[in-house]
C-alpha cells in the first residue's frame, strides 16, 4: 500500500521492557511476542502429538500386539486427540499468526486488550498443564477418546476430571482471544481502512472470532455438566440415572463442529493471502471469498448433527442435517474456484509458501470431497465410525489447517524473525512431508470402505495391507517434519537477513521492517482511496 515507516524503535525481538530474558516474554503484552509464545508452546505440543500418533501407527503395523497393550493404545489415541484438537489446531493460526499479524494488517499498534491477550496465553498454558497432569498422576490416563462420550466417560476409572477441567480452561483462552480480535477489528482499523479494504486473512479471523465467542461456551457448559455428573451423579447424561447419552453428543457437537471451522477458516485466510502474492495478481472474487467466509461461519453452526447419523435421531432431523451439510460445502468450493482463478494470467513466482498453498488446495479438496460422502445419509451409515472418517478429518484438520500453517510460517517467517530460511531445504521438507501425508492418510479411506471401524487397537487380517502402507507413510511424514523444523529453527537464528518485503506482498505487514518494531508503526498509516490489499 505505502512504503512508510523508517525505524525509530528497537525491533520487538530485541526490545527490553520491564523484565529481561524469559520474563520479558511471558509477561510481555506485545501481540507479536504473544504470537510467538503461542508458536513455541504449540510447536512443543504438536511434537508430542506427532510422537503419540507415530506410536499409534507403529502399533497398527501388524495385527495383535506390536508395541503396547490395548489400554495404552486407547490412552494414546485419547491424548493424541486432546492435544492436537484443543492445544494445537483450535488455537491454531489465529493464536500465532492472528496475534502477530492482525494489528499490523489493520495498521494498529496492538490488539484492543493487550493484557487480556496475555491472560489468554496464560489460560492456554494452565489448561495444557492440567491436561498433562491428568496423564502423569492419578488413577490412569484418560481413555475415552477426545470426544468424552457418555456414558463411558462416567464409567471409566481413569483420570477424567483434570482432563475435562483442562479442556474447559483452554476454552476460555479461545473465547478471550475471539473477543479481543472482534473488538480490535471493529475499533482499531487505521484511517481509510474500510471493511471493503480489509485483507482476507483479517476477514477470516473476524468470522472465526465470532465462532470462538459464541460456540465455545457451549462446550464449557457441557464439560462442567460432565464434571458434575462424575462428582455428584446428577443424571443428565447417564442413562442409569435417567439421563440421555445422546444429549451429550448434541451438546458436544454443537461446539465441536463449529470448532472445525475455527480451525479451517483462518487457514483459508492465509491461503487467500499467499496465492495473490505469489501470483502478483489481485485476488479473484474478493467479495465472494468474504461472503463465503461469513456463510461458513454461520451455516457451520447448524450442521452438527451429521456426526450423529447413526446415533438414533429422528428421521426429520437426519434429513435436515444432511441437507445443511451439503449446503456448507458450497462456500468452500467457491473459495477453491476463486483461488485457482487467481492464478489465471498471474505471474507466478514459485516459492516454498506457494508450494504449501497449492498442496493445501489439493489435500483440502480431497478432504472436502470425502466430506460429501459423509454428508450423504446412506453413505454415512456405511462409513461412519470407520477409518474413512479418520482419513477425512485428518485431510481437513491436518491437511487443511496443518498445510496452511506450514504455508503461513514459510510465508511470514522473514517478517517474524527478520531472517530467511534455506529455501532448498524448505522445498525438500515440503515434498517429503506431502508424500508422507498422502501415504499415511489415503489408505484410511480404503480401509474405511472395506469396513474397518476406527479406534481399533487390533484388526482382522484383511485390513493388514492398508495399515502397513499407512504406518510407512507416518515415517515419511515424520522425516519431512524433522527437515522442516530443523531448517526453520536453524534459520531463525542464523538465516540470511530478510528484506522488508521479500515476496512483494501488498498487505500492510510488508510495509514495516522485518522484524517489526515494538509498536509496529512510527506513525499510524492512512489508507488512500485507491489503495487495497491486492492492488498489484
Amino acid at each position: 500500500m505505502q512504503s512508510t515507516n523508517a525505524v525509530n524503535q528497537a525491533n520487538y525481538l530485541e526490545y527490553r521492557g520491564r523484565f529481561k530474558g524469559l520474563f520479558g516474554w511471558i509477561f510481555s503484552t506485545d501481540h507479536k511476542r504473544i504470537g510467538l509464545l503461542y508458536l513455541y508452546s504449540m510447536a512443543v505440543m504438536f511434537s508430542v502429538g506427532v510422537l503419540l500418533g507415530l506410536a499409534m501407527k507403529l502399533e497398527l503395523l501388524a495385527p495383535g500386539k506390536t508395541i503396547m497393550d490395548a489400554q495404552d493404545y486407547n490412552a494414546t489415541f485419547t491424548v493424541h486427540g486432546v492435544i492436537m484438537i484443543f492445544m494445537v489446531v483450535v488455537p491454531g493460526l489465529p493464536a500465532v499468526f492472528g496475534n502477530f499479524l492482525l494489528p499490523i494488517m489493520i495498521g494498529a499498534k496492538d490488539v484492543a486488550f493487550p493484557k487480556l491477550n496475555l491472560l489468554s496465553w496464560w489460560f492456554y498454558v494452565a489448561g495444557v498443564f492440567l491436561v498433562l497432569a491428568a496423564l502423569l498422576f492419578g488413577p490412569g490416563t484418560p481413555d475415552t477418546g477426545w470426544t468424552f462420550y457418555a456414558p463411558y466417560s462416567f464409567k471409566t476409572g481413569t483420570n477424567m476430571l483434570p482432563a475435562i477441567f483442562g479442556a474447559f480452561i483452554l476454552g476460555f483462552s479461545s473465547i478471550l482471544t475471539g473477543l479481543n480480535f472482534l473488538v480490535t477489528i471493529h475499533r482499531m482499523r487505521c484511517p481509510g481502512l474500510k471493511w471493503s479494504k480489509l485483507s482476507l486473512f483479517v476477514w477470516t479471523l473476524y468470522g472465526t472470532a465470532w465462532i470462538q465467542l459464541l460456540a465455545t461456551p457451549v462446550v464449557g457448559i457441557t464439560l462442567v455438566l460432565v464434571a458434575l455428573e462424575r462428582l455428584f451423579g446428577v443424571g443428565i447424561f447417564d442413562p442409569a440415572l435417567g439421563g440421555d447419552p445422546i444429549l451429550y453428543q448434541h451438546l458436544f457437537w454443537i461446539y465441536s463442529h463449529p470448532a472445525v471451522y475455527i480451525m479451517i477458516l483462518p487457514a483459508m485466510g492465509a491461503i487467500s493471502e499467499i496465492i495473490p502474492t505469489f501470483s502478483q495478481k489481485h485476488i479473484f472474487g474478493y467479495k465472494a471469498i468474504i461472503a463465503s467466509t461469513m456463510a461458513i461461519a454461520f451455516v457451520g453452526y447448524l450442521v452438527w448433527g451429521h456426526h450423529m447419523f447413526t446415533a438414533g435421531m429422528s428421521g426429520t432431523a437426519q434429513y435436515y442435517f444432511s441437507l445443511l451439510t451439503f449446503l456448507v460445502a458450497i462456500p468452500s468450493a467457491i473459495k477453491v474456484f476463486n483461488w485457482i482463478s487467481t492464478m489465471y494470467k498471474g505471474s507466478i513466482n514459485i516459492q516454498t509458501p506457494f508450494y504449501w498453498a497449492i498442496s493445501f488446495i489439493f489435500v483440502f479438496m480431497i478432504g472436502g470431497l470425502s466430506g460429501l460422502v459423509l454428508g450423504a445419509l446412506a453413505a454415512n451409515i456405511y462409513v461412519h465410525d470407520t477409518a474413512f472418517v479418520v482419513g477425512h478429518f485428518h485431510y481437513i484438520v491436518f491437511g487443511g489447517t496443518g498445510f496452511a500453517f506450514f504455508a503461513a510460517i514459510h510465508y511470514w517467517f522473514p517478517k517474524i524473525f527478520g531472517r530467511m530460511y534455506d529455501k532448498a531445504w524448505a522445498n525438500i521438507g515440503w515434498i517429503v512431508f506431502t508424500i508422507g501425508f498422502l501415504t499415511l492418510y489415503s489408505p484410511m479411506f480404503y480401509l474405511g470402505m472395506m469396513g474397518m471401524p476406527r479406534r481399533y487397537y487390533d484388526y482382522l487380517e484383511e485390513f493388514h495391507g492398508g495399515n502397513i502402507l499407512s504406518t510407512f507413510g507416518s515415517w515419511i511424514l515424520a522425516t519431512g517434519f524433522i527437515i522442516i523444523i530443523v531448517n526453520l529453527v536453524r534459520s531463525a537464528r542464523r538465516g540470511e537477513k530478510a528484506e522488508m518485503n521479500p515476496w512483494k506482498g501488498k498487505t500492510l505487514e510488508w510495509t514495516v521492517p522485518s522484524p517489526p518494531p515494538v509498536e509496529n508503526f512510527d506513525e499510524i498509516p492512512e489508507i488512500a482511496e485507491d489503495d487495497g490489499p491486492y492492488n498489484y
Partner: protein, 314 residues
Amino acid sequence: MYSSEITQASNFVKGVDLTFLVILGISFFFLISLTVLMIVFIYKYNRKRHPVAKQIEGSTKLEIIWTVIPLLLTLLMFYFGWAGYKPMTKVPDDAMEVTVYGRMWNFSFEYENGKRTDTLFLPKDKPVKLNLVAMDVLHSLYIPAFRVKQDMVPGKENNFMWFEPQKEGTYELFCAEYCGLQHSYMYSYVNVMEDTAFQSWIADTTQVLAENIDSPTATGKRIMQNIGCFACHSLDGSRLVGPSFKGIWGEEITVVTDGEERQVVVDEEYVRRSIYEPNADVVDGFNKGLMLSYEGQLSEEDVNNIIEYLKTVN
C-alpha cells in the same frame, strides 16, 4: 467388505453403493480437473513465461455459475443419500425379530423362541429387525457387508435396525462405537442360510448351542462363550480385566467385600454370587464396577452348567 462380489448381501447394498458411486464419480471428476487446471495455470503463467500479471478482480457471472452448479450437484448427492437411507427407517411388519445385547465387550443374540447365540444366524431373503439393547455403555452394531450400522444406546427405547439378507454366507459384524478396553475385540459373525436350514436350526432348542454338545461342561463353556465371559476372564491363566478361570475351582482367594479383605473358597455359592452380584466380592487387585449382573439373563440351569464347566478348567 466393500467388494462387488457381495453386492447383493442385503437389500440396502444397492442404495448405499449407488450413493457412493454418484458422489465419488462427481468428486473424482472435480478433483482431477481442478488439479490439472491448477497445474496448467502454474506452468503457463509461471513468471518466466508470463512476466507481467494481468489484473482481473473477479467475475460475477463466474461466481454465479460456480455457486449454482455445485449447489445442484450437492442437491443431487443429497437426494441419493436420502433415497438410499429412507428404506432403512421403515421396518416391514412381518420382519423376524432378534434382540441383540451389547455389553463390554461382546454381542449376544436372542431369537423369538428364546434361543441365544454369540453368532447371528439369519434366514436368507427374510426381513429381520434387530432390537438393540446396550447393557452398559454405547456400542454400535455394524455389518459392513449389509451396509448397516446403528448405535446401541443404553436406556434408549425403540432402538432398532432392520435389513434383509440376500446372500448366503458368513459376514463380519463389528462394534463401531468406542466402548473401552477390548473395543477392537468386540466383533462377531453373521451366518446367513437358506430359510429351510434356518428353520430347522432355530426349531431345535435342545441344541441351543451349536454342535458337539455332549456334556454339561461343553454346554457351560458354550454359554460362557455366548455371553462373552472370555473377553475379560482368560482360560490360560493370563491376566485380563478380570481374574483368570484357570485352576480357580476350590481355591482359596482374597476378595474385597465392602472395602474389607477376606478369604473365600471358590465354590458353587461363590460362583453364583459372582454372576448375579459381581460387585459384592471383588477379587483383590481387580477393579469394581466393570462387570454387570447377569440376573435375568442366565437361568439357574445355565449357571449350573457354567459351574460344571469351571470345575474342569485347569
